[in-house]
């Protein structure tokens, strides 16, 4: 504290410790991976270096006497509507370091949240609602290209050749998080949970560790601009292949895994030397047009004998509808659109907070455009980026998505408290770290249970919501925007979402 640089000494959180309740058990000391808590043997006292605290709450949740509270630093700048606290602190930080500010997780700025401005319809008197506890309710979802028409022979069997499909028990999948950005225990938790739930998880761009090949039937393998870990064996290991063009948290730039996180296992899986930064190029250098994308899609289909659907993941940007139309015409089976609230393991803060558009409007625009062009059935649409609960998912499906990707929520089920320090590789909850001491903190046994609980709970809530709308299958909700109404939105916003004002 003595040798501090006063310009860089503004910090966000204070560890408040009620010393009357502190038993010096040192749980907080051992659990803090950022060096904020210390035990002083001479004074028999635990104290905190508040400027190291990131507000992850690991210490306060582990304290057996609940003597710790993490509070916002009351040390406040003069209130200024233009220069908010974070503007000032970021500026000082950059004046001190000359660097780009890197951060983790999704956009945390108070942009309009359209999920919260949409309400769901329900049946009353004239159309009966359905009770999902007493009547069957179908959440089964198929992702992939659907045929223009179905031909059935006299025996009642389908004779049309169907494109490969992903079959989901519920319209939720675990989104791409690379091995390396998250550690093996987290990857294993997600993979096992996907298998148990009958859904899919996505490897992200870091390849598939050898030990997780057994979860291949529930795996979507990703092929990103860095081509980390991509081999014929890898492409054939999964149930589908995803070409990652963009990510909602950082549209237009490539992934970056800091060298500190590239340890033995990650190096082997990514096929890069230990300790080297894994920097994905911003564009795919072989894709500069829809025609180029088509080449890659068909190269991947060729490599997997046309047995696996190919997905293309893009970030939600201004012209997303036209881009999606191009992707559909390039031969993709699935389009995943990632909104600007989607998370990341590391992204420049300026980009995370200012680039891209909300997933709500992106999904509405893409679905509308594909319908207008008569090619909606040729692709499935997966929405991603900041889904917080089952009602967000119901609204996304009503806006036109076939399924959703969740990742931040999945990590939260494993303990994440959104402290946004993923890029530092010191995650106190053991999620975004490869440190053998810290990564032990996620026990897949517990992780799988919690992920399965979360998806089961959300699926049950989705069934309840379908029931109250009088719908008994998720298929009937898709693109059913008539079941949504806007509250507190302008006419142009309602138009962008393609929904009516409440009361109309």
């Amino acid at each position: 504290m003595l040798y501090k640089n006063p310009y860089n000494h503004y910090f966000d959180y204070v560890v408040q410790r009620d010393l009357d309740k502190c038993i010096r058990c040192k749980a907080c000391v051992t659990q803090c991976s950022y060096g904020a808590n210390f035990y002083d043997y001479d004074r028999d006292l635990i104290y905190s270096l508040d400027y190291n605290c990131v507000g992850c709450m690991r210490c306060s949740t582990f304290c057996p006497t609940d003597c710790i509270s993490i509070v916002r630093n009351p040390d406040a700048f003069r209130i200024n509507a233009n220069w908010k606290d974070n503007n000032i602190k970021d500026l000082y930080k950059q004046a001190g370091t000359g660097g780009i500010i890197i951060t983790g997780m999704g956009n945390d700025k108070p942009f309009t949240n359209y999920w919260e401005r949409m309400v769901i319809d329900a049946c009353q008197v004239t159309n009966p609602s359905i009770d999902p506890l007493r009547e069957p309710m179908e959440l089964k979802t198929f992702l992939g290209r659907k045929p223009d028409k179905l031909e059935v022979n006299k025996e009642g069997n389908i004779t049309t050749k169907l494109a490969p499909q992903l079959v989901l028990s519920t319209p939720i999948m675990f989104s791409a998080m690379s091995y390396g950005s998250i550690n093996y225990n987290v990857s294993e938790s997600v993979a096992r949970a996907a298998r148990e739930l009958g859904i899919y998880w996505n490897t992200g761009e870091g390849g598939l560790p050898r030990a997780l090949y057994e979860y291949g039937k529930n795996t979507i393998v990703q092929c990103a601009s860095g081509r980390f870990g991509v081999s014929p064996e890898y492409l054939n290991a999964g149930a589908a292949i995803e070409i990652k063009i963009g990510q909602g948290a950082k549209p237009g730039i490539g992934g970056h895994l800091p060298g500190e996180k590239v340890l033995e296992g990650i190096s082997e899986t990514r096929m890069i030397p230990v300790g080297t930064d894994a920097i994905s190029p911003a564009p795919h250098h072989d894709i500069y047009s829809i025609e180029d994308l088509k080449q890659l899609i068909y190269a991947l289909k060729e490599a997997t004998r046309y047995e696996k659907p190919v997905s293309v993941k893009i970030a939600a940007v201004h012209n997303v509808a036209a881009i999606a139309s191009g992707i559909a015409r390039a031969g993709a089976d699935i389009i995943a659109v990632d909104g600007f609230r989607g998370g990341t393991g590391a992204a420049p803060k300026a980009i995370r907070d200012n680039v891209g558009i909300p997933i709500e409007v992106a999904i509405a625009a893409v679905d509308e455009r594909l319908r207008q062009e008569g090619i909606r059935h040729e692709v499935s649409l997966v929405a991603a980026g900041g889904f917080r609960n089952s009602s967000d998912i119901v609204k996304a499906i009503a806006l036109g998505a076939d399924a959703v990707y969740i990742a931040t929520s999945a990590l939260m089920a494993l303990g994440c408290t959104l402290c946004q320090q993923c890029h530092r590789g010191r995650c106190a909850w053991g999620i975004t770290t490869n440190d053998p001491e810290l990564s032990r903190r996620v026990n897949p046994e517990i992780g799988v249970e919690r992920l399965v609980n979360l998806i089961t709970a959300w699926s049950n809530e989705i069934k309840e919501m379908l029931g109250l709308m009088g719908i008994n299958s998720i298929e009937s909700l898709k693109g059913n925007r008539d079941r949504l109404r806007g509250v507190g939105l302008s006419e142009i916003e309602l138009q962008a979402l393609g929904i009516k004002q409440a009361g109309m």
């Binding site: 038993i23 010096r24 057996p64 006497t65 517990i446």
Partner: protein
């Protein structure tokens, strides 16, 4: 026989097993009073050993061939023939520390009782269904199992 097994790969070295053990074996049964008021303070019967990145919480193994029972000269340490566990009768203990010398795991400690030091070790929390350390472990790094 069910005993507590540490699972080294999941121990996060949070020390909560020690807090729970001390609280369970205190008069007050409350962590605050146990640590701050009780004199002498109870001594934990399990200890988190760590040299990161490795850590584990270790307590009496209730060995099939217990060195401590063989070393004990006045029957303080005995095997309960019914349950198979090793029991320690602190009233009898003379404080010769032969058990501490003999224990290959180093899990027998000393505690002050009735103003004299006596041996102290895991009793598997006879008043609980699951030992306190196992119940408190946030990462299932301690399990209470019968592995034959």
């Amino acid at each position: 026989m069910k005993v507590v097994y540490p699972r080294e790969q999941w121990c996060v070295a949070c020390n909560l097993c020690e807090v729970a053990c001390m609280t369970e074996h205190s008069k007050a049964k409350d962590p605050l009073k146990t640590y701050l008021l009780e004199k002498p303070r109870p001594v934990s019967r399990t200890r988190v050993e760590y040299k990161q990145p490795r850590a584990l919480s270790l307590m009496c193994r209730h060995c099939a061939e217990a060195e401590c029972v063989q070393a004990c000269k006045n029957g303080t340490l005995t095997r309960n023939e019914k349950t198979g566990t090793i029991e320690l009768n602190q009233d009898k203990c003379l404080g010769c520390w032969m058990c501490i010398m003999a224990c290959p795991y180093g899990v027998i400690t000393q505690v002050i009782r009735d103003e004299r030091p006596v041996a102290n070790k895991c009793d598997l929390c006879p008043e609980r269904d699951v030992p306190a350390c196992v119940a408190v472990c946030p990462n299932r790094a301690l399990v209470f199992e019968d592995r034959g």
